[in-house]
């Protein structure tokens, strides 16, 4: 056990001793400095471990041999140990990272670094207010010295702004401290009488000045221009210290002063924190300079922690957990991002494409970014979860909105940045070789981030039950990423299969159906992966993360597990989608809609815990308050995945641009996750009323319009995969409608549509994907006549669209038949009429698809096209086989589903007699119809072949155009603008109104951001005025007047 005073002794002693060294021994001197930092880290870490395992007791350290308050004393408790560990970690590894740079600049820089870290250590540990002031000044001066590491115009201006701002702040702190001494006769924090003394002017003003100046050091909006300029102006390696070390220390100081806060000041504090969080993330939207952007994010994150500190009294014993989870993530992630930025050294985030030349750094960047945004399995995920839950428990709805909105804004710019890195045109230059001392800190931060995520989850009473194995398996695929596709694909199929096998005994009802769609469906689509050659790097980890999420949804017993899995699925699918060709904007909008939806779900789950015990999913079944709100939030959240009208604009691009086997994954499988969520929600919650109206009634209408618009848009596409994508929107509209019926038959129909949609959409996307694979184009007007070249694909598409359109004898008809029965039963005739109208439109695009791709005339350049690869055809035919069986023997599918539904919705179930199903309105025999239709079809086919045997065939290029000269080459193709006549009639429905709406929202956000950020006009003086104004406003807020 080493007394913490030796941290000071070591850092100071070495700093003074550095004066002995000349420029020649600078390397030894630098190593010595790092040694002192390592020693400090060791001491604080030892204390942390000792205190945590309760082998050490928290200790007072007296100086001068006299007891406090007569001398200065330091305190080492768990909090101090944790925070000094964080600070010393940043000190040591930040120093290591900058080692070469500091060596070049001379020993003074090492002195400044040592003194900065020493100052911050004392700031955390001291219990004496004036001592706090002195060591705060030390760290400010040291920071001012480090800022000008690169002496140029920018860093000088930034440093000067920093000095004058912190100068004013320190002066005000000093005034507060001296008056505090005057009123209490002591400088010791523990001697200040607590209670609502802040309410009394005089004494209260002194406390107010102290608290406000600490708050100002944390760069609250809008008095933070100086901080932002520093982030932009200085070396990224220095920003690490400011953001991760100084911010951490000052937050701890604020924490120490919590007992002094009056409720009104605490409220002001949380208000300022919330405002800072939202505002700095909003302003980040327009920012393109990476370091300044990270600065905005940094200030926002610290604002969030300030908000949490302000709300501390309400968070109860969860306060520390939340604060540490959020702060720990901030420290490691922000340090890592700044360090990466220091390696890249580009002044615009669009130039960061160079990063992707280095796979390891790219992965690390992703890790830090996801951690900042609170994705699992990082600590902030659990922190945010607890925070939202506690806020909901206190009825703080507006705080929830603020936090979720701020997080969302942060996600916008971070994911945009990630998209640029992954997809913008690559830079020509290679990355400079990176020395180990720059790698090491980044890697260690990432490891600690992940480790602390597991730690936080272990400490959480519910999160410790989360099943991490699938995620670990997915992560293991990163390690074998260099192996060829064949091996990885086999392993992936094996692991998904194994999981399904292990899960199978526990599955029942809907969980069985959806587990089969998710995992067995996953295996079938993975089969297509064998068609790929080479390594296909990065595909398998991401696909498996998605499947880990999907499987997790099935396994989830608690809301936390459900949300955890939901987020995993979102991350995995995002990375799958962004692999597509022109996917940069689609992947972003996919992620933003998904996140928006995820936050709605988070809020709903938070609200569901109010007046409830535990977080099992069953709490949804007995809600006391907020039930309609929870229903709506959950529905919105799930409908972002089912892409219901209004929330659908991400889908067409994302699905159309994805790779051949990714399209079925994200379309046929992923969308069902939303459906699964809706089903779980409706089973637990039933229907909800709002203002006396049933919400499912609205959902029903939403389903109707989704179906119509989705189908209509599908009919008007030129791009075959886009057509299929819009068709998914339409079909899921049906499914939503079916669920909204809240009747046995409606659910039966919806479930059977979910299953058949999975099947036909997989075959369609694979078949069309195979065509695109060979033709290298997705435009239907560049295809045609492929029936002879790709007969297997043709048959697959033919059967699928028969199912899709709901034509007998195939199983799609069963869905339709059930639907119309259900509609009659419910009496929603208008909706029923519109739904059947949507079905008519579906005929149009089905016809267009098969006609313009496979029928008509073959293009000259496609004469040598081959059939799609075997591995792409195989999954299609597996599914087609199952489809035929289900069609011929409908009770094999519908009967068990009916039995699943009966416990929840018993009325109006089908009665089965062999393959004959009876409903209220009639009967249907799938088997018989199958035989009849097949018989008629064969007869007609034979008839046609017989009569057409003498027809003379015209050669393809016999045709001559009339004297018309086409403007565009594609206009000469009959398949171009195929449904021009319908477009004239109903095209108004197909206007991109909803896209325009969301673009408008984005536009408003960005222009507001641009307006507000003008307050940071770059003048140091303006920043001083902001600071003084800030003090005055907070004073008025706290005391309600002068």
């Amino acid at each position: 056990m080493v007394t913490p005073i030796y941290i000071i002794v070591a850092l100071l002693g070495v700093a003074f001793a550095l004066g002995f060294s000349g420029q020649k021994q600078i390397k030894a001197a630098g190593t010595l400095a790092l040694g002192a930092l390592a020693f400090s880290l060791f001491v604080s870490l030892e204390w942390l471990i000792g205190l945590y395992t309760e082998t050490y007791k928290s200790t007072q350290i007296f100086t001068a041999g006299v007891n406090p308050p007569f001398s200065i004393n330091l305190f080492m408790g768990t909090g101090e140990a944790l925070f000094t560990t964080l600070i010393n970690f940043i000190g040591l590894f930040g120093g290591l990272y900058l080692f070469n740079k500091l060596i070049k600049k001379g020993r003074s820089t090492f002195i400044a670094l040592l003194m900065l870290i020493m100052g911050l250590n004392v700031v955390v540990m001291t219990r004496d207010m004036f001592n706090l002031f002195v060591f705060l000044e030390i760290s400010s001066v040291a920071t001012a010295g480090l800022i000008i590491l690169n002496q140029n115009k920018k860093s000088l201006a930034a440093g000067f702004k920093y000095i004058i701002a912190t100068g004013i702040i320190a002066g005000i702190l000093l005034i507060g401290i001296i008056f505090m001494y005057r009123f209490t006769g002591s400088l010791n924090i523990d001697d200040i009488p607590t209670g609502n003394l802040l309410m009394i002017k005089g004494f209260g003003t002194a406390i107010f000045l102290i608290l406000t100046s600490i708050l100002l050091e944390l760069k609250p909006f809008p008095a933070n221009g100086w901080g932002l300029d520093v982030y932009q102006g200085t070396h990224a390696g220095i920003s690490v210290f400011i953001s991760a070390a100084s911010g951490t220390a000052l937050l701890y100081v604020l924490y120490k002063f919590i007992p002094l806060m009056s409720p009104s000041f605490a409220f002001a504090l949380s208000l300022v924190g919330g405002l800072t969080f939202i505002a700095s993330n909003l302003l980040g939207l327009k920012q393109t300079h990476p370091n300044r952007l990270l600065g905005y994010s940094s200030i926002g994150q610290i604002g969030l922690v300030v908000l949490v500190i302000g709300l501390a009294p309400y968070l109860g014993d969860k306060f520390e957990y939340i604060a540490i989870a959020l702060l720990g993530t901030h420290v490691f992630a922000k340090a890592g991002l700044f360090w990466i930025s220091g390696i890249i050294q580009k002044d615009n985030i669009r130039k960061w494409t160079i990063l992707r030349k280095n796979k390891l750094l790219t992965i690390l960047f992703g890790v830090f970014m996801l951690a900042l945004l609170g994705f699992p399995p990082f600590p902030s995920f659990f922190g945010k979860w607890e925070l939202i839950t506690e806020l909901a428990g206190n009825g703080f709805i507006s705080w929830m909105v603020i936090i979720l909105l701020g997080s969302f804004l942060e996600a916008v710019y971070l994911f945009r940045w990630l998209g640029y890195i992954l997809k913008l045109e690559a830079a020509k230059k290679e990355l400079q070789p990176i020395s180990w001392n720059k790698y090491l800190p980044i890697i260690i931060s990432a490891i600690l981030l992940i480790a602390s995520g597991f730690g936080m989850s272990y400490l959480h009473e519910h999160a410790k039950f989360i099943n991490y194995i699938p995620l670990i398996v997915a992560a293991a695929f990163i390690l074998i990423d260099r192996l060829p596709v064949f091996i990885k694909n086999t392993l992936a199929i094996a692991s998904v299969g194994l999981w399904y096998y292990m899960m199978y005994p526990d599955l029942e009802e809907f969980r069985l159906i959806f587990a089969t769609i998710f995992l067995v469906g996953g295996i079938i689509t993975l089969l297509a992966g064998y068609a790929y050659k080479g390594k296909r790097q990065g595909f398998y980890p991401m696909a498996l993360i998605m499947f880990a999420g999907l499987g997790g949804l099935i396994e989830a017993k608690t809301t936390l597990e459900f949300f955890f899995a939901w987020e995993l699925m979102t991350i995995g699918s995002y990375f799958l989608i962004i692999r597509g060709k022109k996917s940069i904007s689609h992947a972003l909008s996919y992620m933003l809609f998904s996140l928006g939806g995820a936050y709605a779900i988070l809020a709903a789950f938070g609200l569901a815990t109010v007046n409830n015990t535990g977080i099992s999913l069953d709490i949804l079944a007995n809600l006391n308050i907020y039930a309609p709100a929870i229903f709506i939030l959950l529905a919105i959240g799930f409908m972002t995945k089912t892409a219901s009208l209004g929330l659908h604009i991400w889908l067409p691009g994302a699905h159309a641009e994805a790779e051949t086997d990714v399209s079925p994954m994200v379309s046929a499988i992923l969308l069902k996750a939303g459906l699964f969520g809706l089903i779980v929600m409706m089973i637990k919650m039933g229907d909800q009323m709002i203002f006396g109206l049933s919400i499912s009634y609205f959902l029903g209408w939403l389903g109707v319009f989704t179906a119509i618009i989705g189908n209509l848009m599908a009919a008007l596409q030129e791009d075959a995969k886009r057509l299929l994508a819009y068709s998914s929107i339409g079909v899921l509209g049906y499914a939503l409608f079916g669920l909204a019926l809240m009747s046995h038959l409606g659910w039966l129909g919806a479930t059977s549509i979910a299953i058949t949609h999975f099947m036909f959409k997989t075959t369609l996307f694979l078949a069309i994907g195979g065509v695109v694979w060979r033709l290298k184009t997705k435009n239907m007007y560049q295809m045609g006549g492929l029936i002879k070249k790709m007969p297997f694909s043709f048959i697959s598409v033919l059967i699928s669209i028969i199912v899709l359109a709901g034509i007998p004898p195939l199983t799609g008809f069963a869905g339709k038949w059930l639907f119309f029965n259900a509609i009659m039963e419910k009496g929603w005739y208008l909706q029923g009429a519109l739904i059947s109208f949507a079905g008519v439109i579906a005929f149009l695009y089905c016809f267009r698809l098969i006609h313009s791709v496979f029928l008509g005339q073959l293009k000259d350049e496609h004469r040598n096209v081959k059939e799609a690869p075997f591995w792409i055809l195989l999954p299609q035919y597996i599914i087609l086989g199952v489809l035929i069986i289900f069609s011929a023997f409908p009770n094999s599918l519908l009967k068990p589903i009916g039995e699943f539904i009966t416990p929840y919705l018993p009325n109006g179930a089908l009665v089965w007699d062999g393959q004959m199903a009876y409903s209220l309105y009639g009967y249907w025999n799938g088997e018989l119809i199958m035989y009849a239709v097949v018989g008629i079809f064969v007869a007609v086919l034979l008839w046609i072949i017989f009569w057409n045997r003498k027809i003379k065939k015209v050669k393809q290029f016999d045709i001559v155009y009339a004297a018309e000269r086409p403007f565009l080459p594609e206009t000469t193709h009959y398949a171009y603008n195929f449904f021009a006549h319908y477009k004239k009639a109903v095209g108004i429905l197909a206007q991109p109104m909803i896209s325009n709406f969301w673009e408008g929202v984005s536009e408003i956000g960005h222009s507001v951001s641009d307006k507000i950020r003008r307050i940071y006009n770059g003048s140091g003086q303006a920043y001083l005025i902001h600071i003084i104004g800030f003090i005055v406003i907070i004073f008025l807020f706290t005391f309600g007047g002068f």
Binding site: T3, I5, I8, V9, L12, G13, A15, F16, A17, G19, F20, I61, F62, T63, A64, G65, V66, P69, F70, S71, I72, G106, R107, S108, T109, I111, A112, M115, M118, V122, T126, D128, F130, N131, V134, F135, E137, I138, V141, A142, A144, G145, I148, I175, F179, Y181, R182, G185, S186, K201, G202, F203, T205, A206, I1025, I1028, I1031, V1032, F1035, F1042
Partner: protein, 235 residues
């Protein structure tokens, strides 16, 4: 402009109101010492042994603050040295700038006396008004005078920085000796307190003051020296 200034003036008034509100309720002119000050008045003789209570507070009771303030000067001197370090390190301006004769002669006579006076101040810091900072500042003023008077005088960076480091390092060592030999960091009682009121008394205070004096003197000198040299480069 006028509008801007009047708005700023309003802001200043508002800020003044905050400051004045510090005096609003429970402020009154002090009639007696607070608890901590009273403790010092009564026990400093036994605990520290320095008649000058300010020194007792500065060096012992609040020794950590003093260490901090030494650090700030040290840090400032280091940063200034770093900022002013010329890229082409040696200035070969062989231009002989002649200082005034009177100044030069006076400087020759005064510098030793000033240094002596400074030393007196910090050696007697524990007895009478004064101490390391004051003494160090006085010593530095001697070097400022020297630098002013003799334009070409070069003070050796090495010696300055050596003095600085030795005294700073020793300060820390004395602090640690306090932990090992007495009751805590910077405890001055590991040396005998001696006869109250004599030069050699009050434990380690005089020694600490000597080091502080040397350190402050060398640091302030180094700042002035750096500024002066940087000026030469510009010409």
């Amino acid at each position: 402009m006028i509008l801007r200034n009047s708005l700023l003036f309003l802001l200043l008034i508002a800020f003044a109101a905050i400051i004045i509100s510090l005096f609003s309720t429970n402020y009154s002119e002090a009639e007696q010492l607070g608890i901590v000050a009273k403790h010092y008045a009564e026990n400093a003789k036994a605990e520290v042994g320095a008649p000058n209570l300010v020194s007792a507070v500065v060096v012992t009771y609040r020794g950590l603050d003093t260490l901090g303030e030494v650090v700030i000067l040290f840090l400032t001197a280091a940063i200034i040295g770093f900022m002013l370090k010329s890229k082409h390190s040696v200035n070969n301006s062989d231009k002989r700038i002649k200082g005034s004769e009177i100044l030069e002669t006076a400087a020759n006579a005064l510098v030793p006396i000033i240094i002596l006076f400074g030393s007196y101040i910090f050696i007697n810091g524990h007895l009478s008004p004064g101490g390391g900072f004051q003494g160090g500042a006085v010593i530095a003023s001697a070097f400022v005078l020297l630098v002013m008077a003799k334009a070409n005088a070069k003070l050796s960076h090495k010696i300055i920085s050596f003095t600085e480091s030795v005294s700073g390092f020793s300060f820390v060592i004395i602090g640690v000796l306090g932990i090992i030999l007495a009751a805590g960091f910077l405890d001055n009682t590991f040396l005998p307190l001696g006869k109250y009121g004599s030069i050699i008394s009050a434990g380690a205070i005089p020694i600490i003051y000597i080091f502080i004096g040397l350190k402050v003197g060398s640091e302030l000198t180094s700042i002035v020296n750096n500024l002066k040299e940087s000026q030469n480069i510009e010409i």
